[in-house]
Symmetry: C2
Subunit: 442 residues, 2 copies
Amino acid sequence: MSNLPEVQQLKLEESVPTENGSTSVEEDVVDPWTVTSSSDAGIDYDKLIKRFGSSHIDASLIERLEKVAGKPVHHLIRRGIFFSHRDLHTLLNAVEAGKKFYLYTGRGPSSDSMHLGHLVPFIVTKWLQEAFNVPLVIQLTDDEKTLWKDLTVEQSMRMARENAKDIIAIGFDPEKTFIFSNLEFMGQCPQFYQNIIRIQKCVTFNQVKGIFGFGDSDVIGKIGFPAAQAAPAFSTTFPFIFGNDKLPVLIPCAIDQDPYFRMTRDVSPRLGFPKPALIHSSFFPALQGARTKMSASDTNSAVFLTDTEKQIKTKINKHAFSGGRPTLEEHRELGGNTDVDVSFQLLRFFLEDDAELERIRVQYSKGELLSGEMKKIAIETLQPIVAEHQRRRKNVTEEVLKLFLTPRKLNYEFTIASPDTGNGSSGDGKKKGKDKKAAKQK
Amino acid sequence: MSNLPEVQQLKLEESVPTENGSTSVEEDVVDPWTVTSSSDAGIDYDKLIKRFGSSHIDASLIERLEKVAGKPVHHLIRRGIFFSHRDLHTLLNAVEAGKKFYLYTGRGPSSDSMHLGHLVPFIVTKWLQEAFNVPLVIQLTDDEKTLWKDLTVEQSMRMARENAKDIIAIGFDPEKTFIFSNLEFMGQCPQFYQNIIRIQKCVTFNQVKGIFGFGDSDVIGKIGFPAAQAAPAFSTTFPFIFGNDKLPVLIPCAIDQDPYFRMTRDVSPRLGFPKPALIHSSFFPALQGARTKMSASDTNSAVFLTDTEKQIKTKINKHAFSGGRPTLEEHRELGGNTDVDVSFQLLRFFLEDDAELERIRVQYSKGELLSGEMKKIAIETLQPIVAEHQRRRKNVTEEVLKLFLTPRKLNYEFTIASPDTGNGSSGDGKKKGKDKKAAKQK
């Protein structure tokens, strides 16, 4: 790791040569609120890794991950959709030394219904949870959405609960998973606010200005919010799960969330915590093409988890940007471009069979497979996935929801130190376990 | 009320003529963190009222207050120690129309022991609570102290609990009084954080820069904190007491806290609440003189509630700034100056008998009473007050403390609407009362 602070302002515009040799202003904008690219192939992720100062997930890291996990990695990792990381080697060192960690991911609930792209970090998180048998905390930033969007506290909280049902439907184990909305959980656990204050004491306005681009006319809620997204990366935010243990954490997230965790990683050592490790996913393209990501606020840009079979068919047929040629003749002769073809990109995310995916790629590139046929494969791949999700979501009763949202002890077998007696609060979850190694991390 | 926003930056320096006719730069600094004056008589409060845009508590307002309260006002009000107000007439109109209100005051716990000056707002708050038979909420801003001082979360929380014991010892009725520390209560009541987010959505960095003088190098915790002090002025922060009622509030406080409530009063109408009414006290002078206020961080500047009889005697004899003349002869001939004599000022705050106080003032001004004698009277007045406080504080057991700090229904007989069902939290304290008038305020 470089010793330079990770919170330097990132310049996201630079002059670059285009493919045909001329020079244009390439403007990939990637921050927690905006993701846009001027290229049909989407964000230049190699450049982004350089700008953000993270590291590539390369073949040797994947090999190591498979060795430690004891099974092949998920295809979203294998295919490079999770492409970047911070300190994953350090985390794997700890795991190999017999130490445990926990997983933290989240979502900003800005709509009642989630779309396919929202599933991506959760799918890999679930794979990691099962591979390493570790606890998971999932944050719903309904406070953020109230502050940034034209949404009341009540609206954001309702969306958080609806989104939680979709997340539960992905199949997380209630024995190992705690889901929380900030606007609720803040009032259930004093340690959450206490950690926020500790973090907010370490970060100046100048720093959040540099990291997030905040200005003087921004509301003070936005300025303070990054600490609320940072706090779950500190295990003492969840005394009912971890007691006072200061555990390592791995955060799977889309790379636009990295600024929050660059800030977190700067604060961690000052509060006596290990820096969080991260793995970053690329963006799920909008149906209209990879210049933007799927957006819940633009119905036609996304396949929603509530869409019917017919809606999926219509949306993809009508809106999915094609990498095919203008005429049948040209397509047969020159072949299609899978790099920009949104239907093919959807298959990269959701078609599990590697051989089948490669067959489709080759056939399309050769012009043997037509755009309409590509769309049909995408439709037929997504329809059962969405239908199955809907079936599982129906089983998420209010009771199941309440279980996941209740602060409680998880099925987690490591030593948990007693919380400080001085704070007079939440004495839940104190437990002496068996594994003495974890205690040494403190 | 003026329609100008109350949040304009206040210029606290201006060039003024001195007593002897020359001109000097008079620098009264009054903000929540600093109170200093270049005059031995202390802050020029008339000028402060003009700068802050508040109103004098004049004879006719005191008369009205006595009429509505049905008894003589407390001597701290009668003697002009509470000298300024905002919207007290509006509040009294509401009371006369049969509506209820609640009281809100607080303290920043920066030391384990409180001093005499800290009692002042609480004494008047107690008088108001008894005169109007209304509920009272008392905030301990341990989060603020962590952010501003070299104190950990744990240290501030411990001080909050110690200070709560002193506040309870003043004699508040547990049936009508809720005391809370922010670092604890935030984790007990989701509505507190929800109101903070609502407030933080209404206030920009530019505004807090103007009101509090925050700068780019301030930590983000400071920038967001004013919302935590504003939130208790919104009755829905306490659903277990007020349900969803949006009740008027009266805030007794030292005038250095006014910036927080100017901000609050700007936000109130946007959130559908009445603007809080305020009454402001002047500052309790340091023993060394009225250029600064008593400070808990300077042991010799203050009489602490933990001081022994002997310590009080020594401190006043040694440190209390005297308005007497340099020699006995001069004093007998010209008389002493009660305006700057700290012992006399202490008597203004704590000697209840008006006739006796006036007798002392006249005798000292005439030179009949000597400085040593004045100090003796002050010592003998304060010793039993502090001893009585210590006796009462001994009776504040952990059990009593816990009672006051527990979010609970208070003995409050007005209609309380049901909290929103949408938020899924704290269903405590729902109660339908008898008085239908209060419901109309919503």
